[in-house]
């Protein structure tokens, strides 16, 4: 299999998996789920890291890569923490505080 067709398979299967993962979502969780999925979409940190590695000694590219890494990590770290803050609030009756 060529790398391209392999990548296209990965794209296809990933999309199908994503479609199946979420079925019925209670409205309570719409906001946290959106926020969590948003944090995951910051996975583009991987692209930023690769870009920095490939930059060699090209300073402009290093700067772009670092900027991009900053934005992506802002998305990831902020996203997961904020989601956790929201979900931490769903306590059941009797849970102590």
């Amino acid at each position: 299999m060529t790398p391209l067709s392999q990548s296209l398979w990965v794209l296809l299967l990933g999309s199908l998996l994503g479609l199946e993962l979420i079925g019925k979502v209670p409205p309570t969780l719409h906001t946290p789920l959106m926020s969590g999925a948003n944090a995951i979409s910051g996975i583009t940190v991987l692209a930023s890291l690769t870009l920095i590695q490939q930059a060699g000694s090209n300073t402009a590219l290093l700067v772009l890569g670092a900027l991009s890494l900053g934005f992506a990590l802002y998305n990831v770290i902020g996203g997961f923490l904020v989601t956790d803050r929201m979900l931490a609030m769903f306590r059941r009756k009797g849970d102590s505080r």
């Binding site: 979502v25 719409h30 946290p32 692209a47 772009l64 923490l81 956790d84 979900l87 009756k93």
Partner: protein, 476 residues
């Protein structure tokens, strides 16, 4: 050595994909949600470690990685800690925009400096990544600004003109994207960046505040697509699969949210804001058109509460703005100690975003079991003595059921008009998001209590305490 390291990196990648999938799945159930979020975070960490093992950054690269991570991570930490719960939707929009920006920057970087030996696939991926990344960024920032109230809906965006503008921009983007592979670092790239950014603004700007959550969810799906495209650009299959997963799951979530609001995605995206003055927040609307309004003081309201056996609170955006969730919880506790049965009616789109009210009330320690969703609470209203509507408007408008000419017609609403007595706490008679009058306010069993939700709730607390409510329990 290299072989085993590659093998290790591959195994870590696989584990990361599996954990990500489990994380997304777990996030859609209340019980597992918090753990699932942690799982997804762990997966992300694994993916990064796997990649670092694979690429072996040299010292210079490490330096820049450290700079980027420290600044982005620290900023994310601070934002996540500081932001108030009421501002959650705009925060998600901001984070999302930054994710789009990251994909955009990667693609621009590769296009400018590293496209020499790039194949046609990588070049097409660059175009897609730039396009989607720029739309995600500018659209998310506009969404955030609108939710924050920094931006209004300009009049011209409600006319047909906007379709012309947006279609022209889309055509411009298409032409630029087609030209880009021929000249990766040239004019076409900048045309595409500019065109897509403007398109993101042009598409998001006309959309009314009530529909904003759907838009954010859709933009969230886009940022997944942008990540997948960036995966093609740098040749990372993990990135492709994760981006595709988030993109597809985001699309489903968008659909679920549309259904909850009884809106179709097409009408959200192309229908413009509901009503003429849509998008104006709190107090801006006209007071014309109301003829039979009864208003009352907190004292009268407190007397009704004191005698009630069953009380339902309907929290809305006004509650969130006034940060009144703690005062509400205190009032509910007081009433419960007096033997009153208290519950909260949660409309699927109460607040600024589906689930927003649940989050706010949970913050104030309201027991999860007392938050009743629309389908559960609606049959209960006829046997409810007092309903208190706190800064909610369109979600309790009976016209959505009775008046086919109303723009709200067909939207599922909380049927509070079935209750014996209704008090509406509101700052003014201003219209809600939909920009229309609410027939509920003029009904004979309804009385308006004008004022800021927090002030009114504290007033009610004081009145009830003055009546001796709650003291009986202490003595017993």
């Amino acid at each position: 050595m290299t072989f085993s390291m590659d093998f290790l990196a591959g195994a870590i990648d696989l584990a990361a994909v599996l954990l990500l999938a489990l994380g997304i799945k777990g996030l859609s159930r209340v019980r597992s949600a918090r753990g699932a979020n942690g799982l997804a975070a762990l997966a992300m960490g694994l993916a990064v470690v796997g990649l670092l093992i694979e690429i072996h950054p040299d010292p210079i690269a490490w330096l820049w990685i450290a700079v980027g991570s420290a600044s982005g991570g620290l900023a994310g930490l601070i934002t996540a800690r500081r932001v108030p719960m009421t501002a959650m939707p705009e925060t998600v929009a901001l984070f999302n925009g930054c994710g789009g920006m990251a994909s955009l920057l990667v693609a621009v970087g590769v296009a400018l400096f590293d496209a020499g030996d790039a194949g046609i696939v990588a070049l097409v991926s660059i175009a897609v990544s730039v396009f989607v990344g720029a739309i995600t960024f500018s659209g998310s920032i506009v969404a955030m600004a609108k939710l924050q109230g920094w931006l209004d809906t300009p009049g011209w965006t409600q006319s047909r003109l906007r379709h012309g503008v947006n279609i022209s921009l889309a055509v411009l983007c298409l032409v630029a994207a087609l030209l880009l592979p021929g000249d990766p670092g040239g004019l076409a790239l900048w045309l595409l960046v500019a065109g897509a950014s403007l398109l993101g603004i042009g598409v998001t700007l006309p959309i009314g505040g009530a529909d904003m959550p759907v838009v954010i969810s859709l933009l969230n799906s886009y940022s997944g697509v942008a990540a997948a495209a960036a995966g093609f650009v740098v040749g990372s299959q993990l990135l492709i699969v994760a981006g595709a997963m988030v993109g597809a799951a985001g699309l489903i979530l968008t659909q679920v949210m549309c259904t909850a609001m009884n809106r179709s995605l097409v009408s959200v995206l192309f229908g413009g804001a509901l009503g003429a003055s849509g998008g104006s927040v709190g107090g801006g609307g006209s007071e014309a058109g109301y003829t039979r309004i009864t208003s009352c003081s907190p004292e009268e309201c407190a007397m009704a509460l004191e005698q009630a056996e069953r009380v339902v609170f309907v929290p809305g955006y006004g509650l969130a703005v006034a940060q009144a969730q703690h005062a509400l919880r205190e009032l509910a506790k007081l009433l419960e100690s007096h033997g009153v049965e208290v519950s909260y009616a949660i409309h699927p789109v109460a607040g600024r975003m589906p689930g927003h009210m649940n989050v706010l009330l949970a913050e104030a320690d309201v027991p999860y079991e007392q938050l009743l969703e629309m389908d559960l609470i609606n049959p209960e209203f006829p046997r409810t003595d007092v309903v208190i509507v706190l800064g909610a408007n369109d979600v309790v408008n009976p016209q959505a059921k009775n008046d086919p000419s109303s723009p709200l017609y067909g939207m599922p609403v909380l049927e509070v008009d079935q209750a014996r007595q209704v008090f509406v706490v509101k700052r003014s008679l201003g219209a809600g998001y939909a920009g229309i009058n609410n027939a509920l306010f003029e009904m004979p069993q309804t009385a308006m209590v004008f004022g800021d939700a927090k002030a009114v709730l504290n007033g009610l607390l004081a009145e009830l305490r003055a009546m001796g409510v709650g003291k009986v329990k202490v003595a017993a």
